[in-house]
């Protein structure tokens, strides 16, 4: 082999070297990404040998048995509220409560964890025209809050984070969160999705009751949440919405468990696609076939009908 061929051959073998360099570059890149965790690890509240720490800093003058963490950065003892291991003097400990993640309240108003690109995060009072004395959560299953006159939603990613929701005719004084998306006041039922509320004029508020996460009813009709649930007449939706469960007898409709329901005419299986559904129809009720709600159940139903036909032939 002459020297020219030798050089060309050695250049081809350099591809391996290039791959190694690329792998090394990738490792360096990954290293740079996780470097901050090693240089300045996230600090947590911790108790070691009867002493309290926030990160590596020891918290003195606190009785560990009275100390309780509320969130990553927020903690309380009998007398004070702490943020990042430092006492927060402007919050009243006696009336302090956690509303939802990163949002807190005491008798003087609301507080939230304000994040910043260029400075450390802070716990600061939440400005707004809300009534501090009557401000309260509508329940653990919702992000809605109310005072004596208005309804609010807290959105940590918007500025300001407290937004007033205007719904005509809504009576805040009697408003209650029933379950997940459903709200009710003295006259109407409302459907809420991430702070957006629509009135449900067709639903009778007086007789409305939520049966489960997916199903509710009033004296006239049965309703189901259409997210990822389809029937023969209606497609599933990607976001939360509701529809009437056609053919269901509302007065006698009741829940057997989260997936199975029964009315005077038939048994119902309501479950999301992919969920395992096993059900044995009660004796004497086979004529009233269950009406599956989702596609998987449609197939199960067809299989059951074919089996029955085959059994009849024999």
């Amino acid at each position: 082999m002459n020297v020219v061929n030798q050089i060309n051959a050695s250049q081809k073998s350099k591809k391996t070297k290039i791959i190694l360099i690329a792998v090394l570059a990738f490792v360096v890149l990954m290293g740079i990404m996780i470097l901050p965790f090693f240089i300045n690890p996230k600090a947590f509240y911790d108790e070691k040998d009867g002493k309290l720490y926030f990160g590596s800093k020891e918290l003195t003058g606190i009785n560990p048995s009275e100390f309780k963490t509320i969130d990553y950065n927020v903690a309380i003892d009998c007398t004070r509220v702490y943020y990042n291991g430092k006492p927060v003097d402007f919050i009243d400990r006696k009336t302090f409560k956690n509303l939802t993640r990163e949002f807190y309240a005491d008798k003087n108003g609301l507080y939230y964890e304000k994040t910043s690109l260029y400075a450390k995060n802070k716990l600061v009072p939440l400005e707004g025209s809300y009534d501090k004395a009557t401000f309260h959560s509508l329940g653990y299953q919702t992000t809605l809050f109310a005072d004596k006159t208005s309804l609010y939603v807290i959105d940590a990613f918007s500025n300001p984070p407290l937004k007033k929701i205007e719904v005509s005719g809504l009576d805040v004084a009697t408003l209650q969160s029933l379950h997940n998306n459903w709200l009710k006041d003295k006259a109407k039922v409302y459907f809420e999705v991430w702070g957006k509320i629509k009135v449900c004029p067709e639903i009778d508020a007086a007789s409305f009751e939520v049966l489960s996460y997916s199903v509710a009813k009033d004296k006239n009709k049965v309703y189901y949440i259409t997210r990822n649930l389809k029937t023969k007449t209606k497609d599933a939706t990607e976001t939360d919405d509701y529809a009437v469960l056609e053919g269901a007898d509302a007065p006698t409709f009741r829940m057997v468990n989260e997936k199975y329901y029964r009315d005077k005419n038939q048994d119902w299986t309501i479950s999301k696609k992919g969920e395992k559904v096993e059900y044995n129809a009660p004796e004497g009720r086979k004529a009233n076939t269950p009406a599956p709600v989702n596609e998987a159940n449609d197939m199960a139903e067809k299989a059951r009908q074919m089996a029955e036909k085959a059994a009849g032939k024999n």
Partner: protein
């Protein structure tokens, strides 16, 4: 013929520790929560840090350039680094110039008779056309164009081989 080329070793040994120190001080003492609060943000921060570092490296690299001068006397190729001796090679032992050219920027690798890549240079900081470089060598040895190809990513690769070795 003088080419200004980055002295990588000197450059990396100077710039990288400075950048590393700056990054360390920012992460450790600015103590901004979001850097260490959330892994996705940290990754984005890492990317941003890398891009800033690369931008600074690119900006400063010209400052760390070293002048390499090519001279041919009595059948010898002399390469000086900042006017002091760097490489001497009998011109008849110059086997090949492997050139990659794209948008008037070119990289040249020079090989000797033992198949060693003894010097590499480019015209990133020096406005000398490739034809001048080839003419410079062609005045003393006969270079033949071989193995010309156009890579998929663009540009042109070509070998200029000393006719003696063909």
């Amino acid at each position: 013929m003088i080419f200004r080329i980055v002295d990588r070793k000197k450059f990396l040994l100077t710039v990288l520790p400075i950048l590393g120190l700056i990054a360390y001080v920012v992460i450790k003492y600015a103590d901004i929560d979001w850097i260490t609060l959330n892994s996705m943000r940290t990754k984005l921060f890492g990317f941003a840090l890398l891009i800033v570092c690369l931008a600074i490296i690119t900006f400063l690299s010209k400052k760390f350039g070293v002048d390499y001068e090519f001279q041919i006397n009595n059948g010898q190729l002399f390469i000086t680094k900042d006017r002091s001796h760097h490489i001497t090679l009998p011109l008849n032992e110059l086997v090949m110039l492997k050139v990659f050219e794209n948008n008037k920027i070119y990289f040249v690798r020079m090989f000797d008779a033992s198949g060693r890549n003894f010097f590499t240079f480019n015209n990133s900081y020096t406005q000398i056309p490739l034809t001048n470089v080839i003419s410079f060598f062609n005045a003393h040895i006969n270079l033949i164009t071989c193995n010309e190809e156009y890579p998929k990513m663009g540009g042109r690769k070509v070998d200029y081989i000393n006719k003696t070795y063909l």
